[in-house]
């Protein structure tokens, strides 16, 4: 028997394995998992076999490496098929593009970044390329800040650990909810690599080889912390934590020239019937249209929040 406060070691270890597998874009082999967990391979095999048996983990037939299983993806309360999300959002995103006269984006949390699951062109008939399937850096976009601030796991969750942050992910200690940015601490360049199109496994085959806004700018390695895309990118974990606190306080997020010079993005959370944030919707456009004196336009903010609420209402039906 065990008392209050005690935990079961094998469950903790299983959770650690799942976190590791969720944290990176790559499948992991037993040796890598054993190293990261600090456990003998034999112990790990037993846990992995059990996880495969219940469908939480899958083993690649060709390489023998492990990845998260489909069962697990469907289990989480925050799981919502991204194609369902797009279908349910379609009319509202078009309406938002019409009202704001800007491009509209819906993103979900994916492997330390924001996966673009829906994109509506800015209605001005300029040349635009569909960006569905692109991965955007979380800390430098309004969509990403919303997803970080309302992360259902409360610790900037497994899904948001950048690949190189797997070590901290494996540690059982939960980062304090008041400093969610800490879990994002990534080695320089991590976020930049996330913008590369090939890093987006959710991308539909045959999709335009989308390049994220700002990807060409590259991520200037910061001295410590997060990748810098412009001089205004938040690169320090504590600055980001403060920003996310602000996002939670007012219910929306913005990036003012933090990913691309001259561009502003504004976003708000989309929630499911249980109130869990399942995605973010936002607009992106030129700073002279979307901001006044360095502050995002309140009119546009209200349009974005209206659309987010409408989709949220729709999802709870």
């Amino acid at each position: 028997m065990w008392g209050v406060g005690e935990t079961i070691q094998s469950v903790e270890r299983a959770a650690g394995i799942l976190r590791l597998l969720a944290s990176g874009p790559r499948e992991l082999g037993v040796a890598e998992l054993a190293r990261a967990m600090g456990l003998p391979k034999g112990t790990l095999h037993g846990i992995l076999r059990t996880l495969v048996h219940v469908g939480f983990v899958e083993q690649d037939a060709a390489t023998g490496r492990y990845r998260l299983g489909g069962t697990l993806l469907h289990l989480g309360s925050s799981y919502l098929d991204v194609n369902v999300l797009r279908t349910r959002s379609l009319n509202w995103t078009d309406a938002l593009a019409g009202r704001s006269r800007e491009s509209v984006w819906i993103g979900t949390a994916h492997e330390g970044g924001v996966l673009v699951v829906h994109h509506v062109f800015r209605p001005d008939d300029s040349m635009q390329v569909l960006q569905v399937g692109t991965l955007l850096p979380a800390h430098a976009t309004a969509l990403g800040k919303v997803l970080l601030a309302y992360d259902p796991y409360g610790d900037a969750g497994a899904a948001f650990h950048a690949p190189s942050a797997t070590q901290s992910a494996a540690s059982p200690g939960t980062p304090s909810a008041t400093a969610p940015g800490a879990a994002l601490s990534a080695t320089p360049g991590t976020a930049a690599s996330a913008t590369a199109p090939e890093a987006a496994p959710g991308a539909t085959p045959g999709m335009p080889s989308a390049t994220a806004p700002g990807a060409t700018a590259g991520g200037e390695p910061a001295v410590e912390g997060l990748a810098a895309f412009t001089p205004r990118t938040l690169t320090r974990a504590d600055d980001l934590a403060k920003e996310l606190e602000l996002v939670r306080g007012r219910g929306w997020a913005c990036d003012v020239e933090e990913l691309v010079e001259g561009e502003v993005s504004i976003a708000a959370p989309i929630r499911d019937a249980r109130g869990v944030t399942v995605g973010a919707i936002g607009v992106r456009g030129a700073v002279e249209r979307l901001a006044e004196g360095g502050e995002p336009s309140i009119t546009i903010v209200s349009y974005v929040r209206d659309a987010a609420r409408a989709i949220t209402r729709d999802l709870s039906r």
């Binding site: 098929d81 991204v82 194609n83 369902v84 797009r86 279908t87 349910r88 379609l90 009319n91 078009d94 309406a95 593009a97 019409g98 009202r99 994109h119 509506v120 062109f121 209605p123 001005d124 008939d125 635009q128 569909l130 569905v132 539909t204 085959p205 045959g206 999709m207 335009p208």
Partner: protein, 491 residues
């Protein structure tokens, strides 16, 4: 007049009636929707209560207009778009329908249509239509034959015929008119003269006295009791063509629902199809010459996804087909011909039935999901090829609308298969928008079609990604699968 001005459109569809209010930029201001009963008295019979539809229409108009704080005085025009071919007969004096409306899907006229086989060429040449149960003419004839005393009342002009546009305009304004696009679906109108054709009337045995006056799609037919001009009527697919601003020859729209409808603008001359398409009127604005269209319909597109969900249980919602299809790189050699009730344009083979071809032990449910999406694309390709051949035009881009445009993978496959860009417009409610546009043009709310084009914006565009060699190989395989679906059902 107080406040900004708007245009309202009624979309009287097969399962529901909707009213939408649009502003001058073509943006949706308000929406209301109400369903009506589907009446199935016998297998193959489908009826609507026209009085119930009229009530629903009044309800949605009131809700969309006053319910959103708009005064009827702010409405400069009301347009109508409607389910096509559905046939209403009513008493001129009481205003009551004399029978339930016979819906376009209803096949009770099957035997009657077969007795008309001797006139097939006449209908093809004059009306542009093949002999089929959908069209209004045989439905009128059936009601006149089966209802005692009705023919005499119709000959005296006491009983009136109308498609749903005509019924609604009569109720709204008191005038008995229909528009050219709806009239082109009756098998009674001469496509070139745009008037009722005596030989067609004689072949079908329909008295002229019961028919409405044929008018352009956009002109003021009359005003409602609230003083709103009723200024447009278009069949639903033609309204979508108009809402997509396909005003130039060769411009083509495809609406993806349970089935799919492609219409190509062919300009001011009707084009006779040698490839099993219909020739129909696209629209006519005021005194301008009519614009014609070629139409091809695909029976099973979205309904195949529903079949995968409901009959196989492979997915729990239609949108998940994309997720499932995304688990594989390609179709794994598997092709799905959904000829559930035969093949429509351009094959017209009622003996065909569905097949899944190319199965091996390698094929997974992901491959089948992909084959399902590809089936919609290849069926579109076949209709587009037929249109290009008939019209002597080459499609340069396809304007897609309807619920399935939310499926990114399908839209990409469509672009790959057609080898032209596929474009989704910002306002996906193109049917309502088309009726609003026509009504707004008739009343000067919009000055010309150029101003409507300026309202049209791309919401997304998919460009072809695959090489010609892959496209050719896949098309060959698709046609092999088509061959295997033929000669299955024996009558």
């Amino acid at each position: 007049m107080p406040g900004p001005h708007y245009v309202a459109a009624i979309d009287q569809g097969t399962t529901s009636s909707r009213c939408m209010v649009f502003d001058q930029a073509g943006r949706i201001v308000s929406v209301a929707q109400r369903e009506h009963r589907q009446i199935f008295p016998r297998p193959g019979w489908v009826e609507h209560d026209a009085a119930e539809i009229w009530e629903a229409v009044q309800g949605v108009v009131a809700e969309a207009v006053t319910g959103s704080g708009i005064d009827f005085g702010q409405l400069v025009a009301l347009g109508i778009t409607n389910q096509r071919e559905t046939t209403v007969l009513w008493d001129r004096h009481t205003g009551r329908p004399v029978a339930n409306a016979i819906v376009w899907q209803d096949t009770r006229t099957d035997a009657l249509v077969r007795t008309l086989a001797g006139h097939e060429q006449l209908f093809r040449e004059r009306a542009g239509l093949p002999l089929a149960t959908y069209f209004a003419g045989p439905k009128i004839r059936w009601l006149l034959d089966e209802t005692p005393g009705l023919r005499e009342r119709a000959e005296r002009g006491d009983v009136l015929f109308g498609t749903v546009d005509s019924w609604l305009i009569w109720r709204l304004t008191g005038r008995h008119v229909t528009d050219v696009t709806n009239a082109s679906r009756t098998m009674l109108m001469n496509l070139r003269t745009l008037s009722w054709d005596d030989e067609l009337l004689a072949a079908l045995g329909v008295p002229r006295a019961m028919l409405p006056e044929i008018r352009p799609s956009a002109e003021v037919y009359g005003t409602t009791g609230d003083g709103v001009p009723v200024a447009a009527a278009l069949g639903d697919q033609q309204a979508a063509l108009f809402g997509q601003t396909c005003f130039g020859p060769g411009e083509t729209k495809s609406t993806y629902g349970s089935g799919s409808f492609l219409l190509m603008n062919t300009g001011t001359e009707p084009v006779a199809s040698k490839h099993g398409l219909l020739t129909t009127v696209g629209y006519q604005i005021g005194d301008a010459p009519a614009t014609y269209a070629l139409e091809g319909s695909i029976a099973v597109t979205g309904s195949l996804v529903q079949w995968l969900r409901d009959n196989l249980g492979l997915i729990s919602s239609a949108a998940e087909i994309e997720t499932l299809a995304g688990t594989v790189e390609d179709n794994g050699g598997c092709y799905f011909v959904p000829a559930f009730s035969g093949l429509f344009a351009p094959h017209w083979r009622s003996d065909a039935r569905g097949v899944i071809a190319g199965l091996t032990g390698f094929v997974t449910k992901g491959h089948i999901a992909r084959a399902v999406l590809e089936a919609t694309a290849w069926q579109t390709r076949e209709v587009v090829d037929a249109m290009n051949a008939d019209a002597g035009l080459a499609l340069t881009s396809l304007r897609a609308d309807g619920g399935m445009t939310a499926n990114n993978l399908l839209m990409q496959i469509l672009a790959d298969v057609l080898a032209v860009p596929v474009v989704r417009p910002m306002v996906s409610e193109t049917t309502c928008l088309g009726a609003a546009y026509a009504a707004g043009l008739a009343t000067g709310y919009w000055p010309d079609t150029d101003s409507l084009r300026a309202n049209w914006h791309k919401a997304a565009e998919w460009r072809p990604k695959i090489g010609q060699d892959v496209r050719d190989r896949e098309y060959r395989n698709w046609r092999k699968a088509i061959d295997r679906s033929l000669d299955w059902s024996t009558p």
